[in-house]
Amino acid sequence: MSTKYTKEHEWIVVDGDIATVGITNYAQEQLGDVVFVEVPDAGKQLSQGDEAAVVESVKAASEIYAPITGEVTAGNPALEDAPATINSDAESAGWIFKMTISDASELDDMMDAADYKTHVAGLE
């Protein structure tokens, strides 16, 4: 397994041919209290950059984009009743959806943990 990060503050854990996607701890701190999450249904086809999910804080709604191309295999059902899991555990229990990986090369340009840390440090 390896974890990749995007400039849009998503994390992608790759396990075989399935990617699990969520938002980073930095992203949840920026959003504040999450009160609603709309996750995609299994079977939904996504191209890299498509709108995949919506995370809403008290203040605003933020779109979550598909980091890669593939088919959704599951949305996180726990987020319906406990959206604040994204605040408490963004990079594990707060995962948003899982999807297949159509083109593994789409992962090549993404950051690893060290690069992402540097990226975030540059934003503050």
Binding site: G32, D33, V35, F36, E56, V58, K59
Partner: protein
């Protein structure tokens, strides 16, 4: 937020906000605290204990002259001639189309009126008022004053420790009080639906006052984020979102702020249009809307009837922490304005069912003796 951070003004509490760990954002030309610990916690704390808000970005001014109430009545539909000394009234500056230039609080303080207007409108408001006051009256802008709001069920107990008379003030009254040794203008009013006070204080003593109030264990600093969710639950209008130059006080459901005399006499900008809407009913009305599901509907969400015909638009919407779910307000065609009417909200291409609902969403707790 797309405002540039350069050239932003600071309130007298700027350093205190940063010391308290606030997340600062640009708002109406100022650096303002949007939150300290988190909007949900701050919202709930205000409903259960007491919250201190810095609203020093708002505009404060006095109108002086022989007959300041009569003078300002030329610009607002509120009844100011009947405003007794020490009382505060909510009204709005209207334009010739009956639209709202701003909403404001007007307090009679002896021989003059004390007004508080919105930050984003204050320059335009003051220019408009100054240009339109009859001769013999003048507007005195008070840029050297800060404004704090202390809101919540414990507000009276906290403020009374420093100014015992505060406890006995009624909702929408105002007094000059010393809080500790700081001379303040205290009004029992606010923007949260809770009991509480708005306190005008000399800018150089604002931080001292804020620290004094924050000393109370019931009091926490509250940012603009929770201020917005609190006022939305209270059903109160946000200028620029729920009311603006294209909405009239009648469409906005603010007819209660226009007395019988002013309805019949007119004598304010747009009076003919507003009187016509009072007589014939407006074509649209501001209503409360509760989505049936969990998805919030934000400002500018289209409202449709059950057949998919557009009937209006959400003007404010989000999550109500005290309600525990999504709430919104917006304008609908009058036929759909009755509480209980089923409508749809078009959120990300889906028609989410919702119901027109009476406001407030969270009960008001004003102190009326």
């Amino acid at each position: 937020m797309s405002e540039k951070t350069e050239n932003l003004k600071q309130t007298p509490l700027d350093a205190l906000h940063r010391e308290l760990g606030a997340k600062m954002v640009p708002f109406a030309g100022y650096h303002m605290p949007v939150q300290y610990t988190g909007i949900l916690a701050e919202h709930t704390h205000t409903r259960e204990q007491a919250g201190l808000f810095d609203v020093s970005h708002m505009g404060q001014a006095a109108i002086r002259g022989k007959h300041p109430a009569t003078a300002l009545e030329n610009l607002v539909p509120g009844d100011l001639r009947s405003l007794d000394d020490g009382y505060t009234r909510y009204t709005m500056l209207t334009n010739d189309q009956g639209g709202i230039l701003d909403d404001l609080m007007v307090t009679r303080r002896g021989d003059h009126l004390f007004i508080i207007v919105n930050a984003g409108c204050k320059d335009a408001d003051f220019a408009h008022i100054a240009a339109n006051l009859p001769p013999g009256n003048e507007l005195e802008i008070m840029p050297d004053r800060a404004l704090l709001a202390l809101q919540g069920p414990k507000a009276a107990a906290v403020l009374s420790r420093y100014a015992s008379a505060a406890r006995h003030m009624m909702f929408m009254t105002s007094e000059s009080l010393h809080i500790g040794d700081i001379p303040c203008i205290v009004s029992r009013s606010g923007y949260t639906g809770e009991d509480g006070y708005e306190i005008s204080v000399p800018a150089e003593q604002a931080e001292q006052l804020a620290r004094m109030l924050l000393d109370g264990e019931e009091v926490r600093p509250i940012g603009l984020g929770a201020r917005d969710s609190l006022r939305l639950e209270a059903g109160l209008c946000l200028y620029g979102s729920d009311i603006d130059t294209t909405t009239t006080p009648i469409e906005a459901g603010l007819i209660w702020s226009i007395s019988k005399r002013r309805r019949s006499e007119g004598g304010f900008p747009g009076a003919a249009i507003i009187q016509g809407q009072i007589e014939n009913g407006p074509a649209r009305k501001r209503v409360g809307i509760v989505p049936e599901g969990k998805a919030p509907a934000r400002a500018h969400t289209e409202i449709t009837d059950k057949d998919g015909n557009g009937i209006g638009e959400i003007t404010s919407g989000g999550f109500g922490p005290t309600v525990g779910g999504p709430i919104a307000m917006g304008y609908v065609a009058t036929d759909f304005a009755k509480a209980g009417t089923a409508v749809n909200l078009m959120v990300r291409g889906k028609a989410n069912p919702a119901v027109v609902t009476k406001m407030p969403f969270a009960e008001h707790h004003y102190f009326k003796g």
